[in-house]
Amino acid sequence: MNQEIPVIVIGGYLGAGKTTLVNHLLRNADGCRIAILVNEFGDLPIDSDLIEAQDDEMIAISGGCICCSFGSDMTSALIKLSSHNPVPNYVVIEASGVAMPGAVADNISFLEGFSLAGVVVLADSECIQAQAVDEYLGDTILRQLSGADLIVQTKIDLISPQMVSNVCSWLTSVNPKAQIVATAQGKLPPEVILGVEMVAGQPQSSGHADAGYDSTVFTEIAPCDPDCLAKELATGGLGIIRSKGFVTDYAGQKWLIQIVGERYDVTPMVSSEQDGMVCIGRKGALDLGAIGVIFAG
């Protein structure tokens, strides 16, 4: 089995809602051990009712999650995490407000034991367009957005529906490759941010893909070229935010496919699992018909 720990990089400027989102993930971890990495334990990175214990370097969170501060040395913190007992199921790096999440993600690629499971950049619906033309910050904001696989448009309850859709179109024009999801209080299904959970080697259709998201499992998958298949799913305009599962190639080899936005990853596997892939998208936005046709070969 693939033992690599999936790493999600969450970026975006100060006030975009990173802390709110992270706390929401922790509240809905559902037994998953999430390790959160932050630059510093700033002004309460974790809601106090979730904290079980805290020292200089680590906060223990109810349910087996942890939060570590790494100061200026993220790589060392990750290397340390890989020997943490028990090993986390997910690592979420909360990048600083001026960090380039895409560059942070690049640094995952060569670390033993970790695999990148997506770059998520948050955009404050109210301020993002003003920030993007700020004399000091504008280019930083644009570079952050263009490094995203998934853009979370936050605080949509503070502006009109018309503005929400204007901001969404603007975000699409900044980064046409990213999937965009909108939220008021960071209350997104965890699998949208973290990726699809595997239970007993099988991708799960989400139990809590509540408000506004569909999660569909496909099991009728013809033998395929996994790279082509992944590319088609990721870039075919099918409404897929995330997807994960197993397929078999023409030679009978099993492959694990993981997709977030237009980023996809195929890894050969030794596995006796059945073929099957789960796809997550906004409610009504998944093109189930077209996806089914692709899986049918």
Binding site: Y13, L14, N39, E40, F41, G42, D43, S69, G71, S72, D73, M74, T75, S76, I79, S96, G97, V98, M100, D106, N107, S109, F110, L111, E112, Y136, L137, D139, T140, R143
Partner: protein
């Protein structure tokens, strides 16, 4: 036996404008009783006359306002630099002028290593001077295929390692996809690793395991030796993470009876929230001693110009590289400035690019209106690209600047041709403009980025000669006496120490640089070549020949 010693000297340059020169200086209890003639000083009563400096020139001990103790730590590794450089024991290492010369030097060091598994590490490689030739892992495999070898570049941001090192770090595999890991024709990494995040996984295997931000004991002793050899008696460590263990060690080492330097570490801003940082630094301030001055903060605002990570205003980089990186969010910077002013803590900010400098000026102004403190002396460190309006604003706000005069020599040609172009390269580190604008000014080495040596730094500011031998920015040259002020009183002022050190006058620390010749009468082009006999620090005598 009297407790007053009167030193006679060929000449004493006091930097005290009421009495610029003297022949004798009287010292009691580590402090200066007075400077003048023997007759005048004898009026204090019984004394011992010490004539050992009778053919020497005394100056106030030099003050280096921007260096890193890492300079001391690096000398435990093999020097691979392009320029000649003296080590803490006074040995002059000639520059390695080709890849072959670098390899040869590493091979030599390899043969004397007894432990067959010990790594071999080198430092200060600078391929800019070798037509940007890449040192590959094949090159370094000529040094060893069985032990890990790693060479850090002068920039501190790139490292070259051999095959064994990549293998140990699990990075000897094809298809790695990272802008900081160039791949060879075979799809495997070439051994060049660009950026701290990429270097970190290999670091422990090639002798660079510790965070280079923290002083270590051996490094601290080496650092002190370099200070004595260069006439430096007070120096900063800019910046340090200052964890509990490091602070205890620094207190112990600097407290030893023969530790010859006053060390001023600045707490690095990263790793703590603004409020926690202020609390931590206030606590450190409580533990300050004469030789370990704690209680200051260093903020890094942007990156470096030659690394294209400094933040520039329009028109940006001359070669069209995208603008650099912020290392702190403007709101975070503003919060820190407010809190530090409120707490009475001093802040030095690293800004290389002019946009980063502008941000600090804009954020400090409202913070000062909220927490007025006309004597804050917050200092712009490097501040390499500031224009005259920025210097005027800095002066109005009560800021100081510490300009990177050495940088101009080492990378001035590169800036002229590539990074910022002729016009702005000419005004980089504009000492003349800074002084004319009335900004209190120091100049620095940023050791280990360039070698520690205040007289060299003065030479660089006075002559503005680049490595290729051109004078770049004649109008920004300063006079010898101004440069000597900058490396004594100027730097002391930026550290709030000008009442204690920086000049030879009654009541100040008996800190002297003991020189073989008089820098005020020599040809300015020879400033850097003046020999340093050693130092006197707090009345204690430290000959460089006996370290």
């Amino acid at each position: 036996m009297s407790n007053t010693t009167i030193f006679s000297a060929k000449k004493i340059i006091t930097m005290n404008s009421s009495r610029p020169e003297a022949s004798h200086v009287a010292v009691r209890d580590g402090l200066i009783l007075g400077a003048g003639s023997l007759e005048e000083l004898a009026t204090w009563g019984e004394y011992t006359l010490d004539a050992r400096f009778v053919d020497k020139v005394l100056m106030p001990g030099f003050v280096e306002g921007h260096a890193h103790t890492m300079e001391g730590s690096l000398w435990t590794k093999v020097y691979c630099g392009w320029f000649d450089r003296a080590d803490p024991n006074g040995k002059l290492w000639t520059g390695a002028k080709s890849v072959d010369a670098v390899i040869e030097r590493l091979q030599e060091a390899e043969t004397v290593l007894e432990d067959p598994t010990a790594p071999l590490s080198g430092w200060q490689l600078d391929p800019i001077y070798m037509d940007n030739t890449t040192v590959t892992r094949a090159d370094l495999d000529r040094v060893s295929t069985t032990r890990a070898v790693g060479v850090l570049h002068a920039s501190g941001h790139i490292m070259n390692v051999n095959t064994k090192a990549l293998e140990l770090a699990g990075m000897l595999k094809p298809g790695l996809n990272h802008p900081g890991i160039p791949l060879g024709a075979d799809g495997f990494p070439t051994g060049e690793l660009k950026g701290p995040e990429v270097m970190t996984p290999v670091g422990p295997f090639v002798g660079y395991e510790r965070s280079m931000l923290d002083a270590d004991e051996a490094g601290l002793r080496n650092f002190a030796k370099l200070c004595v050899r260069t006439g430096t008696t007070t120096i900063t460590d800019l910046a340090s993470r200052m964890d509990e263990k490091t602070v205890d060690m620094m207190l112990r080492v600097t407290g030893e009876p023969n530790y010859p330097v006053r060390l001023m570490p600045f707490r690095f801003f990263m790793g703590l929230s603004a409020k926690e940082l202020i609390a931590a630094v206030l606590a450190l301030k409580e533990r300050t001693t004469d030789r370990l001055r704690m209680g200051q903060i260093k903020i890094i605002v942007d990156g470096s110009i030659q690394g294209f990570s400094a933040r520039l205003r329009w028109p940006g980089y001359h070669n069209d590289a995208p603008n650099g990186l912020w290392y702190i969010a403007p709101e975070h910077l503003s919060e820190l400035l407010h809190l530090a002013l409120e707490a009475g803590l001093q802040v030095h900010t690293h800004t290389n690019g002019d946009q980063a400098t502008q941000l600090v000026l804009e954020k400090l102004a409202p913070a000062l209106q909220k927490h007025p403190n006309p004597n804050h002396r917050f200092t712009l460190q490097h501040c390499q690209l500031a224009d005259s309006a920025q210097f005027r604003t800095a002066a109005k706000l009560g800021m100081c600047v510490n300009l990177f005069a050495n940088h101009h020599f080492y990378w001035g040609d590169e800036h002229y041709a590539l990074t910022v172009g002729p016009d702005r390269a000419t005004r980089m580190n504009a000492c003349r403009t800074a002084l004319d604008s009335g900004v209190p000014m120091a100049i620095h080495s940023d050791a280990p980025v360039t070698p520690l040596g205040p007289l060299f730094t003065a030479w660089a500011a006075v002559n503005r000669i680049t490595a290729s031998g051109r004078v770049q920015g004649e109008e920004e040259r300063i006079q010898v006496h101004e440069a000597l002020w900058a490396i004594t009183m100027g730097a002391a002022y930026t550290l709030h120490l000008d009442g204690e050190i920086g000049s030879i006058e009654t009541g100040k620390k008996a800190d002297f640089a003991v020189l073989d010749a008089d820098p005020t009468v020599c040809d300015p082009i020879l400033l850097k070549d003046i020999g340093v006999w050693g130092t006197v620090q707090g009345g204690r005598i430290f000959p460089a020949s006996n370290l």
